[in-house]
């Protein structure tokens, strides 16, 4: 596996108003990896993703993507340089068709040129979306909506995919398909950073993982090493 650093978050502090949500958080994602960000509710995982996506800006520290500082960019600029976030709760556009949802994913100028090519890839990954392309997004099942959200994110032609709580409210069997899809997405050269509450599952699917607690990274490493520590963590996360 390639070892070139794609994303480097260094010592960031992030505030929601006067409330500090992240404390001195650092994280590295290398090209081609699947990295898990694990933690309980309100541990700051989503805040970290939103900061990478440019929805929030760090008060301290830096975020580098392919060696360039991106911590001051706006969300739409972040998408254009190749970072796409699939938000928690899927957030598909309910009264737009499946196809329109996907097309909106290719809104940034770079992705527009590759629209057909990416659409083909999404349909290969999730054939069901092709079948349902003229249906309104709100008529899809939860799992299908998650596939649509993933597909929509892929349409932006990302180098790095940020996934927030993909498993929320989904049956394990549906989840298996989704994780399989993640592996395929990685095969196509897209790096993945996903946020998850389920420790066991995350450690199974990822290459490396970061564990967060109340706004700080408390543990990180290869999943194999972390699995050894899992016994200790059991009580913590109530797995």
């Amino acid at each position: 596996m390639a070892q070139e650093t794609l994303l480097k978050v260094s010592n960031i502090d992030v505030f929601h108003g006067s409330f500090q949500a992240l404390w001195d958080v650092s994280l590295v994602v290398k090209r081609g990896e699947i990295v898990a960000l694990i933690g309980a509710n309100a541990s700051g995982k989503s805040t970290l993703l939103n900061t990478i996506s440019g929805l929030l800006h760090p008060a301290k520290g830096s975020i580098e993507f392919e060696g360039k500082n991106i911590s001051v960019l706006d969300p739409f600029q972040i998408v254009t340089i190749g970072i796409s976030q699939i938000p928690e709760g899927r957030r598909v556009f309910p009264t737009m068709t499946v196809l329109d949802n996907l097309i909106i994913g290719s809104y940034n100028r770079k992705a527009r040129a590759k629209k057909e090519q990416n659409l083909k890839m999404v349909y290969e990954l999730f054939p069901i979306l092709k079948e349902r392309k003229n249906q309104l997004a709100k008529t899809l099942s939860g799992g299908e909506q998650q596939m649509l959200a993933l597909g929509r994110g892929l349409m932006s032609d990302p180098k790095l995919l940020l996934l927030d709580e993909m498993s929320l409210g989904l049956a394990p069997i549906v989840l298996n398909d989704l994780y399989k899809a993640l592996k395929e997405i990685r095969e196509r050269g897209i790096t993945i950073l996903f946020v998850e509450q389920n420790v066991r599952r995350s450690l199974k699917e990822a290459d490396r993982a970061y564990i967060m607690e109340v706004g700080r990274v408390v543990l990180s490493g290869d999943v194999a090493e972390l699995r050894e520590e899992e016994e200790v963590k059991k009580a913590y996360f109530g797995v």
Partner: protein, 288 residues
């Protein structure tokens, strides 16, 4: 039978007037849908559009409808600027701040019209404004028919725009879920500015047809704002058909109110209707 025959005229007129109210409401609905703020200056901007056409007609001798070639781009640019330089900043403060900025705009446009064109009542009266034709027992003024036809054409164009273009889809997306739209790489600030600008171009169209249908004064805007708001709540957000039906509900309320209670009660009936709908179903009757 006699009553029914008498009712035909107000019903036909009400439906046709519904077109005018739909036209006025479209811009308000677009801005409300995308930015979740009621542009309380919308009525005044529509009236400003009426005055622009009035100026074009009296000073340059240009037909009001033709004058839209200038009026629409002008209001489009004003709208874009207002959103980009005023409302976007107000949103950063709060939604209430945006509402109050709109209120300030309302005062400014109202009094601008008052200063330039005096408080006297004006109307747009090109030769065809006086023409009418008969269908059965009903004598229909041409401009009333134009109101409805224009509303249908504009709605159709807006629908195709929202469906077929990237910008249209982005406007649609931003109105459904701003955060998700941001994450899709949509520059929502820019999309808002376009949405507002388009809404203002619609205000220009609505202004011309309002001026052809009714006399207007610089302070007429509030009345039409309230009716347009009523149309938006009846129609719900994101439903074009709903907006058209909402327009007709208010057209009919007005003409039937006038028929049963006398011409002076027309507006009163429409206002009470807005209030009743607000109290009973603020989330709208159609739409999502």
């Amino acid at each position: 039978m006699e009553v029914l025959a008498g009712l035909t005229t107000p019903i036909v007129f009400g439906i046709l007037l519904g077109g005018l109210y739909t036209l006025i409401a479209l811009g308000l609905s677009l801005v409300f849908g995308v930015m979740k703020v009621i542009n309380v200056a919308h009525g005044d901007l529509v009236i400003f559009g009426s005055y622009l056409a009035f100026a074009a007609m009296t000073m340059l001798g240009i037909d009001p409808i033709l004058s839209l070639v200038m009026g629409m781009p002008l209001l489009f640019v004003i709208g874009f600027g207002v959103q980009r330089f005023l409302l976007n900043r107000a949103f950063a403060v709060s939604l209430d701040a945006a509402l109050l900025v709109c209120f300030g705009l309302s005062i400014i446009f109202q009094n601008f019209c008052q200063i330039i064109w005096t408080p006297f009542s004006r109307s747009l009266k090109p030769p065809y404004a006086l023409e009418s034709f008969s269908v059965g027992v009903v004598n229909i003024p041409l401009v009333y028919l134009l109101d409805l036809v224009t509303a249908l054409v504009v709605m159709l164009l807006l629908r195709e725009f929202l469906r077929r273009t990237y910008l249209g889809k982005a406007i649609n997306a931003a109105s459904q879920d701003t955060k998700a739209a941001l994450l899709m790489g949509i520059n929502t600030g820019r999309v808002y500015a376009f949405a507002f600008a388009i809404a203002m171009a619609f205000a220009a169209i609505a202004g011309v047809f309002l001026g052809l249908t009714y006399p207007f004064t610089p302070t007429s805007g509030v009345a039409f704002l309230i009716i347009a708001f009523g149309v938006v709540i009846v129609g719900g957000l994101g439903s074009m058909l709903g907006t058209l039906i909402g327009g007709m509900v208010f057209g009919l309320a007005q003409t039937l109110g006038g028929y049963f209670l006398g011409a002076v009660a027309q507006m009163f009936v429409a206002y009470i209707l807005v209030f009743v709908i607000l109290a009973v179903r603020p989330q709208g009757i159609f739409g999502r």
